[in-house]
Amino acid sequence: MTSTTSAARPAALTPETVTDDDVAVVAFCQSPSVRHSYSTTNGTEMLVPIFQQLYKDLGITRRDIGFWCSGSSDYMSGRAFSFISSVDAIGAVPPIDESHVEMDGAWAMYEAYVKLKTGETDTAVAYGFGKSSAGDLRRTLALQTDPYVVAPLWPDSLALAGMQARLGLDAGLWDETAMAEVAARSRRDAVGNPAAQFSGFRGPDGTVTDDVTAEQLLTQPMLADPLRRHDIAPVTDGAAAIVLASGRRAFELCDNPAWITGFDHIIDSAELGGRDLTTAPSAARAGERATGGDIAGITVAELHAPFTHQELILRSALGLDGSADAIAINPSGGPLTGNPMFAAGLQRIGNAARTVIDGGAERALGHATSGPLLQQNLVCVLDGRR
């Protein structure tokens, strides 16, 4: 599946120059990332406080929202149409215009974005939720592989990622230190994120320090050789929601909307043994199209890499290598410190947008992935007022 979006950087938008074709993120909220939530698998209990917070932040009610789209999966809850109950968190009386994708909430956001582009409404909410703790996540994720000759072997997500990591290790594309550095940086950055599941370093005696180094992490044993615990995103329960608005409505809701100036998602072949797993061509192409090949001005990139080596693959695919000084990668701590299934990708875009809305970044990039081993990738570029 591919999509097309104008990639050129527009001139600065003002309430006078904005058109209904301009769509922005105006607010973002997420639940705390936790190892085990008391929420039902419907996500309702995680979503209600988020929605209430967004209404409060924007001074609106649920009736101001013209379209709702959610991302979640029945494989997390073990029953069909489980997302229906999440609509309780909205309050669907009178009836609402609502949709759902069996994907990360980032793709729900894409649908909401398209909905705003049609002009049918000027305000939408995209949300995602996952109670990963309810099942055996690494086993459940095997079900997203080819159902004929791969899934019947139940290749768990750690095994698949480990094979991908080793390909790069063997080829000299990265080493275990580079992988550990990704984890150490994420854990240091997560100290500043109250929603993160954990941060810093937990020593053998149980004491946690904010600072953590790759050397410390590399003293830990292998969990799924060649992966150590720190290479793997935690099992997380959580949810997230983003409010989108178009045209003048965006300025009414937000002083400094994060305008979506590029948005694309592309998928690679499902044939695991047939593609070069040390690269992510679909991420490269989605990034190329979303940025127009110009990453100038981007100072924050939130990347949905559930494994350390996958961040290295993505940085290379998106042209962010060698620019670590200029571009902060996952300043939120990223998925390695909180990875709620079906919400973590939307959280990347939300965190990127928040840095623009808050004025910390003029231009930010959010990325989401879906499927095994970075098979499908989505890139969203967000611009502030310049």
Binding site: T40, V48, G91, W154, M163, P226
Partner: protein, 337 residues
Amino acid sequence: MPTPDLEPLSAPIELQFDYTRSVGPVIGRFLGALARRRIVGVRGSDGRVHVPPVEYDPDTADPLDEFVEVGRSGQVVTWSWVADPVDGNPLTEPFAFALIRLDGADTAMLHAVKVDGPAQMSTGMRVRAVWAETTTASIGDIVHFTPEGGADGGHGEEAAADPEPLAGEALTAFLDQDPLQILVTPFEMTVQHSASVEESSYLRAIAEGRVVGQRCPETGKVYVPPRGASPTHGVPTSEEVEVSDTGTVTTFCIVNVPFIGQKIKPPYVGAYILLDGADIPLLHLVLGCDPAEVRMGMRVRAVWKPREEWIPSTGNIEHFEPSGEPDAPYESYAEHL
């Protein structure tokens, strides 16, 4: 979300069913050949041999149908150690998953390699397929791979050289002989299902023979069972309200169709019952009268199981039966249809 005073109730849901899929001509030939202990791939538009085969070229999307038999041995392209196998893995003891490029193939196939530990694994090592004693035309017909030259005790002639590979008309004839049509893949998973805090208070109360709901703070409506959020307003409900175990049939259905697992002999009645004090009806059975007598507005009361059988379940109410009161006027339940 705040930690509740009482931990919500939860219980495992164990799902089990068979995925039944038609596999098409390409995968069907591959699996049909596996059942006869031969491995075939398909040649892609660029000449690469894909094993397992793909129906369409990943680059050009051209349909592919030129089959090639490949070896039963090959090279480990990459691997990962599975210290803690999951249900359904080819091996129950720790093993390696590997991408294996079979001799004559250009792509790599995922499978298990049986060795004692990760020290015996290395990229580039040679491995050979070990066949199942009884094949079923599935990827599991190769039970796992084993290091070449090892002394694995699999079935068949793996110690002997590979048979002469088939090609051309002979291969076509072989593949056309017995392709698989339908693949049945058993599936099972366990999910820990949690009731919400509000549902848990309902379930704990019904274990004591009481029916409780909660009131929506916006509308004042009482939901039984209560929910994590008022479905009309999306706000949490918190005020607990005990309701009666008598009520009114708002609508009903006479079940005439038999189905697997049916516990009552048809015909019988499933009905929405608006308990007195509640604003949303509860789905339950109405027994104790001729199904033809059940009607909208009929007054019913709960028939409870013996107290010693009570558990946190709506099933503590075995069914509802007519209470003998006069029918409720339509206006009293019209809003709840």
